[in-house]
Structures are given as C-alpha cells and as structure tokens.
C-alpha cells in the first residue's frame, strides 16, 4: 500500500457532528501523529478507516482506488489494523487464542502457501551455489508441517517469530486476565502484525504506560517503520508527537485544521492549531501557606482475593496542599482512595482524619446536642476567654443559646478515625470528604437521571419526612450550570447524554459545593479538552487555597509535576517514594513507578 487518501469525510451522531468534511492523506513508511484535543474527532476518523464507522458522506481511496471499508474484516483485507484505547481481547482466552481469533480457512491456507513459497525461495537461491545439506532439507520439511487447517501450534511459532523480529516479549499461553496492561497492548500489536498489516493505527497508546514502557514502545514503532510499515498514532500529548512522529495532522472539533512536518514545528504552534488560539500552557501553582496535617494513612493494608492490593501504605495529606499520586494503572491508587472514602475495608492499619476545628465554634450543623454534651464532658471545648467549659447542670435551652452565640469553642482539631466506617457513617459524623471517582457515570453519577436528581445524590437523606427534597438540589444544579458553563438543553436532561467535559464539570461541581475538607480526585481530566482541563486545575488550586486537602491521582506526569506540591508514587500497593515535584525528574518518577528506588 502506497497511500491512503480521505476525501470529504463527514459523520454525525444525533445532533453532534463528529467529523466535518475532512480530507487528508497518509503516506507509506511514515509515522504520522493525529493530534487534537479530546473530542476533536481523531478516534472517529480512524474508526472510519478501520471499518467500524460508516461515513455519512465522503470516500476513502487506497492507492488512488476508491474503496468501501465496511467492517474490521474488510480493513484487514486492505492491510489496515487498529489498536484501540479499550483493548479488544477476550479475557478467558490465552494470547494465542486471541491472536488466531477471526482467522478463516482461507487465511490458514494462505499461511501454508506462504510457508511453502519461503522454503522454495530458499532452495532456489541455493541452486547453482551449493547442494542443500541433509539438516537443511530436514529443517525445511519440518517447517512445512502446517496443515493449512486451524492449528494453534503453528500460530505459536509465528508469534514467537514476530516477537523476535520487532522486540516484543509475549508468553503465547498466558491468559489475558493474568496480563499487565502493557502486555495486553503488545498482544494487540502482535495480533495486527500476525495478519500482515501494513498500516497500524494506535489510539492513545501511551496513556497507560510508564516512561520506560513508552521508550520500549517507540523503539518497536521505529523497527516497524524500518520494515516499511506505516504507523498512525492518535494522541494529544505534544512531547510524544515531537519525539516519535514524522508528520502531524491536526483536528479540531471535527474539522481538519492542517498538517506540518514535525521537524518544522513546535509545541506552542501545535497547541494553537489544536485549540484555535494561543493558550497559556502554564498550570497555576500557588505556594502552600501553613499546610496542616489533615489525613493520616498509617500502615494500611488491603487484601483482595489473596493479593495485597495495598501493602503497608503510609501517607500524610495536608490541608492547603495538593498531594499527587502517580503510578501505573492498577497499582492500588483506586483502592487507596476507596479505602479512605469508606468503600473498601482495610485489613489492617489506621486512617485518621484531623478535622480542623481549632478555635472554631461548634455549630448544630455538625453536631447535635447530645454529641456536644459528650464532647464537653471530654473537655474538648473552651469559652471565648480560653477557659475550660463545663456544661454539667446547664439546661438544654441554655446550652443552645451558648452555641448560637458561638461561645463553645474547640480547643484543638478533632481526631476522627475513619477505618471501618461506611460512606454514610463518615457523612453522619460531619466529616466533609468529597470524592471525584475515575468512573464518572459508573460511580459518581447516575446516567439515566437528570441533573437535579444527580445533585440530590449527596443530600437526598436530608429533611424530615419520607419524601426527597428536590428544591435545594435544583438550585445547586442551576448554580453549577451557570458557574461552570455546563452545556445542556435543560435541567431535565439525563446526564448520560452530555459530553464528557460537561459530565465532569457537574461531578466536580457537586463535590466541591459542600466545601470539603478533603477532596480526592482520580484522573479528573481524562478525556477532557484543554480548556476544561485547565479550568479544573484552577478549581483544585482554589480548593487548596481554601484550606482543603486535595489528593490528585493522575496519569500525565507533566501535569503531576506542574500542579502538585508533593508527589507520592505507588507500585503494587506500596508507596515507593514521596518526592518534591519541583526537583524530581520524570525519569526518576518512572523508576519509582516500576518499583525501583532513587537516591533521595
């Protein structure tokens, strides 16, 4: 295949125009970066070439011949293969089974013919030079054992050959459910190479890899290019574009903006093409003022199905700071946050919340009369002059008056253990803990419910009586829509219909609306465009300035190093290091992410 040309491709989903009259060309033997923000149409466009989407209008030309690629099978016929962000693998199958899945009888016959041809060529070359040795003849005979029928042994051999050729490490008989993320990705690439693709499309391949694994992947891609293959890499990461690609094509909001040679451009220019205007690429990071201890995680261990998902984790999170957590996907970050939130129960260890109450008056919002009396008996309060308060013998009415006049004041911060508490119990204790989970629609919101109902998720138990009070949630929804610029037809739209960025704005908005003392976020800007991402970074900074303790679990090391005040790295459930983002390098973090250690 010498070239692929797309002409005037358009596709719409409902009222959203994903692709708008796009024309571009891909040439043989180049590594092309398809660049654009989240939601710009990159994946959709490649899905057209890969046979998953049908364009509403427009044509695809391969080597100047018009073709219709109506299914992934068709794409293979044209030697095009695509590796998606969400791997298309069957979990219970082994690597080999996944690789041969979908091969037809004709494919097996073709393999046999290729094998025979290779052997014939080998012997033809020898003719006239020398006689083949007995060993060589025997070897050739044994190589043409393949019967031309469904045969896993043959596949195994070919897989090993491909791995050796390009530099992969794959165990053919390993089950997918036992594989790591980068092993699965390698499997996907080998799957495509097995079918003899000439054009390989990778959709955001580096999102799930450590810096070291990214290096290995890029080396493999360069090997493939040397072998005459063409690679398209869909990405929004500028530094990778600069590092690996020969050419860049930029999409924005479904339209084709332009293409440049990588050697002739720079990140600033590319960003301007992606976003449409000059963007300040600096993430604002205010200096923390008097960070105070907010959350202690001491020797926490969590065991799931016999595996230590969290192994003796020790961490401190301070109010007024953003603590970042970096790590390969599946190292335990998710479980750590869920443990703190009360969604998982730790096997051992303590999670202690320091409720900032020093010199603050108690209010009925946080504690009821009985709790106030109990705490007073424990000597937790003082009066405005600093003297100890004794509430014994006082009537309830008198105590109420004192609370309203703000005369009952905390001596010091409250220490509240969180382990073994359910999310409901944590709420009822008055601990303001907010959590923006990785899975927005699957955990943070209910897709079928509308905006108002989703805002009621946190507050629906409030109020006397059996019915849910919807007025406050409705006002909250209105407020968030206005403040954060959420795009929605109205408040009654099911949130599942909104775009990713708007969903996240709703979720983050709801979580910070309660003025939390701890805010935990997992991959909060995943899938969001640049503007929304920076909006969220600023929100987190604002929270930090409001004395909230922010935990930021992320995958983009550049963002982590620019945004956080301290950075913890987790690997296989252990904290391998807590470093200073101002001083540490990305490579050092990469080492920590794979369990190594660095000199402090």
């Amino acid at each position: 295949m010498k070239s692929i040309r797309l002409e005037n491709i358009s596709k719409a989903f409902g009222w959203i125009k994903a692709l708008d009259d796009i024309s571009l060309q891909i040439n043989e033997g180049e590594i092309l970066a398809l660049l654009g923000e989240n939601g710009s149409g990159k994946t959709s466009l490649m899905n057209v070439i890969a046979g998953i989407y049908h364009p509403d209008q427009g044509d695809v030309f391969i080597d100047d011949e018009k073709v219709t690629i109506s299914s992934p099978k068709d794409a293979f016929k044209y030697k095009i293969g695509m590796i998606h962000q969400h791997f298309k693998l069957v979990n219970v199958f082994t690597a080999v089974e996944n690789i041969v899945l979908g091969l037809e009888k004709s494919d097996y016959k073709k393999f046999k013919e290729e094998q025979i041809k290779t052997e014939e060529e080998f012997f033809a070359k020898l003719k006239g030079v020398r006689e083949p040795s007995n060993v060589e003849v025997a070897n050739a005979k044994s190589r043409i054992y393949h019967s031309g029928k469904y045969d896993l042994n043959f596949a195994r051999q070919k897989v090993i050959q491909i791995c050796n050729q390009y530099g992969f490490k794959i165990d053919p008989d390993k089950h997918v459910y036992d594989m790591s993320v980068s092993e699965k990705q390698n499997l996907e690439i080998v799957k495509a190479l097995f079918r003899g693709v000439d054009l390989l499309i990778l959709d955001e391949p580096t999102a799930v890899l450590t810096p070291q694994e990214i290096k290995v992947l890029f080396k493999i891609l360069k090997n493939m290019k040397a072998d005459g293959k063409t690679v398209i890499i869909i990405t929004h990461k500028l530094n990778e574009v600069m590092e690996i690609s020969d050419r860049v094509e930029v999409l924005r909001k479904g339209k084709y903006i332009g293409g440049v040679k990588t050697s002739e451009t720079n990140p600033a220019q590319l960003t301007e093409m992606m976003v449409g205007k000059k963007v300040e690429l600096e993430i604002r990071r205010d200096t923390p003022v008097n960070p105070d201890l907010r959350l202690e995680i001491n020797n926490v261990t969590l065991v799931k199905e016999g595996v230590k998902v969290l192994d003796n984790v020790n961490l401190q999170v301070n109010g007024g700071e953003i603590l970042g957590i970096a790590g390969i996907s599946g190292s335990g970050q998710k479980e750590l946050l869920e443990c703190v939130a009360g969604l998982q129960k730790a096997k051992s260890g303590d999670i202690i919340f320091h409720n900032p109450k020093e010199n603050k008056p108690v209010t009925f919002f946080h504690k009821d009369l009985k709790q106030i009396k109990e705490l007073a008996a424990q000597g937790k309060f003082h009066d405005p002059d600093g003297n100890k308060i004794d509430l014994t013998g006082l009537k309830d009415k008198e105590i109420r008056k004192m609370v309203e006049e703000e005369k009952i004041i905390f001596y010091e911060n409250e220490i509240m253990p969180l382990n073994d508490k359910t999310p409901l119990e944590i709420r009822n204790l008055g601990i303001k803990l907010s959590f923006v989970p990785e899975d927005r629609l699957g955990m943070g919101l209910v897709g079928e419910m509308n905006l108002t109902q989703n805002m009621a998720l946190r507050s629906f138990r409030k109020g006397k009586g059996m019915n849910v009070e919807m007025k406050k949630p409705e006002r909250l929804a209105e407020h968030i829509v206005k403040e954060f610029g959420v795009v929605t037809p109205n408040l009654n739209t099911p949130v599942g219909r909104l775009s990713g960025g708007n969903i996240q704005k709703l979720l983050v908005g709801r979580e910070i609306s309660s003025n939390p003392k701890i805010l935990m976020t997992a991959y909060p800007v995943r899938g969001l465009d640049i503007n929304t991402s920076y909006y969220i970074y600023n929100l987190l900074n604002d929270q930090k300035n409001a004395r909230c303790a922010v935990i930021y679990v992320g995958e983009d090391l550049d963002v982590l190093l620019a945004l956080c005040d301290r950075l913890a790295v987790i690997y296989q459930g252990k904290i391998t290091g807590v470093v200073d983002p101002h001083k540490v390098t990305k490579e050092q973090v990469g080492i920590l992410m794979t369990g190594g250690s660095i000199d402090a």
Partner: protein, 320 residues
C-alpha cells in the same frame, strides 16, 4: 427392577439433554433464551403435526411406515425449532429487544399453541400411539437379553442422538475454529466484531441450531417416553434444562451426567414404595437440588466455570 429404573432414568434424561445442549449452544453465543420451554412445546407439536399430515392419508394405524413417521417427525420438529431460533434472534439481534422479555413471551406463546394444536390432533391419538413404537424400537439392538444390552443398547434413536450431539458440541467448542469464534462472540462481542467475526451471523446461527436441538427434547418426550400421549405440559422440563446448563458450567459433556442425575431424581418417586405425600416431596427434590447447585457454584466462583461475560446483553457496534 433397578435396571428398569436405570434404563428409564437414562431415557428421561434425554429430554433434559436435548434442552440443555441446545441452550448451552445458544448461551455460548451470548443469548439467554428463556423461551426454551416454549421451543420444546412447539417442537413436540410440530413433529406431531407433521406426522398427522401423513396419518391423514391412512385409514388405520397399522399401515404406518414407522421409519417414515420417525423421519417426518424429526424433520418437522427441527424446522420448527429453527423457526423459533429465527424469531428469538430477530427480536433480540435485529430489533434489539430485551432478551428476557422476548424469551418469556416465546414461552407463553409456545405453551399456548401447544395445548391448542394438540386438541386439534386428538383424532390421531391412536396413530401416535403406534408411531411411538418407531421412536422407541426402530434402532434398538435387543431388549431383555441381559443387563448390558438393557442398559446400553435398548434405546430409541433420539436417546442416542442426544448423547452424540452433546459430545459433538463439546468437540466443536474446544477443538475447532468455529468453536473459538463462537466463544468469543459470547464472551466479548466487541472483540469478536473487531476480529472480523460477524456477531450477528454467529448469534443467529447458534440460536437457530441450539433451538433446533432443544426442540427435539419435546418430540422425544411425547413420542418416546410418553408413548404418543400428546396431552402433556412440557414447560417444567424446559426450565430444568436451563438450570442444567448452569449446573454443567456450559460444558455439554458435563451436561450428559447432569441430565442423568436430574432424570433419575425426577422419576425416582415412581420406583419407591412411598405414600402419596412422600412422592410429592420427592418430586420437589430436582428443584431443590438445582437451587443447591446454584448456591454452591455462586459461592465457589471459579474463573473457568463462569457464564460467558456477554450473556444476556445485546450487542450494538455503534454504541458510544
């Protein structure tokens, strides 16, 4: 006496074996077909209806060509099962309706059509009685000679067919390309689709073949086991067959054993000298055993014995 019990248990288990093998094939492709009881009913009546067309040309049961009757019955049954498979697939794959609802509607319809048509076929009841000899005896080797022939060689064709089909199904699942593709369709249709496997085609074909096999269970019950007694409700057996699919962990060769156990339990009351009340209790045992199996397998939860991941979920390629 025990030999008779064993023999009848194996015979009875055939209805379960057809049903569970058929439904296993269907479920491997990702369809949870709650219409299997309806399919079995329709299978029975289609076979009988087909045979009655032939009987209509005769004046007396003794004129029946047994071989022809058997072939006719099996043919009509299989076709009716296939049609049920087409209907189910059409509603779930093409029209994208909920699988449970489609299945339940099919069962309701099947049970209803069953009794209705059989009332119409009452005039042929003596013919059915004679024809059942064909199903029972035509391929028999010998009966009554010794215990070995009784236990292994004295069955009607459908019994042997059920076992052969179960074994063939297992081989296809584990050793062939088509089997691998089918498993993929059931586990992860998105993966199968991107590998170039037509999820639609596999689901349609698996459902059609599976329902055809299951429908033979209904025919067997009426024509072999019951000796041509056409007024009989078949739903219960269909549900137990669905339970056996789980019990056998979606492996048809286990299904052979499981069907036998259920068959034995089901007919045990008639072989025991117990009061009428006790017999009622024993009749409940297969259901209790099924529940026990359900509970135990859910507690144990081993990885290789789970249902196909995509079971019960319709596949939509363009779902974002």
């Amino acid at each position: 006496m025990f030999i008779t019990f064993l023999r009848n248990a194996i015979r009875f288990s055939t209805i379960f074996l057809f049903g569970s093998t058929g439904e296993t094939i269907v479920e491997k492709s990702g369809h949870l077909n709650m219409g299997i009881p309806g399919v079995m009913c329709i299978g029975a009546l289609a076979g009988c209806a087909g045979m009655s067309i032939y009987f209509n040309t005769l004046t007396d049961p003794s004129q029946i060509n047994l071989f022809g009757a058997v072939v006719l019955g099996i043919l009509f049954t299989i076709v009716s099962g296939a049609i049920c498979g087409v209907i189910f697939s059409f509603f779930t794959v093409t029209l994208r309706c909920n699988q449970n609802i489609t299945g339940l509607t099919l069962t309701t319809l099947g049970a209803g059509i069953n009794l209705f048509v059989f009332k119409r076929l009452e005039t042929f009841s003596s013919y059915f009685g004679k024809a059942s000899d064909g199903f029972r005896n035509l391929f028999q080797v010998e009966v009554g000679a010794n215990w070995f022939t009784d236990v292994f060689l004295s069955y009607g064709i459908l019994v042997y067919l059920a076992i052969i089909i179960a074994v063939v199904a297992t081989i296809i699942f584990s050793k062939t390309r088509v089997g691998l593709n089918l498993k993929a369709v059931g586990e992860s249709p998105a993966t199968a689709d991107s590998a170039g496997i037509s999820v639609t085609r596999y689901r349609y074909l698996a459902t059609i073949i599976g329902c055809s096999i299951a429908s033979l269970g209904g025919l067997f019950m009426i024509m072999d086991y019951l000796g041509g007694n056409i007024e009989y409700g078949l739903d219960e057996y269909g549900w137990l067959a669905v339970a056996i699919v789980i019990f056998s962990m979606w492996k048809p060769h286990f299904g052979i054993l499981a069907s036998f156990i259920f068959g034995a339990l089901y007919i045990a009351p008639s072989y025991l000298n117990a009061s009428f009340a006790m017999k009622n209790v024993i009749k409940m045992i297969p259901y209790v055993v099924t529940i026990a199996v359900l509970v135990v397998t859910s507690i144990l939860n081993k990885k290789g014995n789970q249902p196909p991941e995509g079971l019960g979920i319709n596949y939509d390629r363009e779902k974002r």
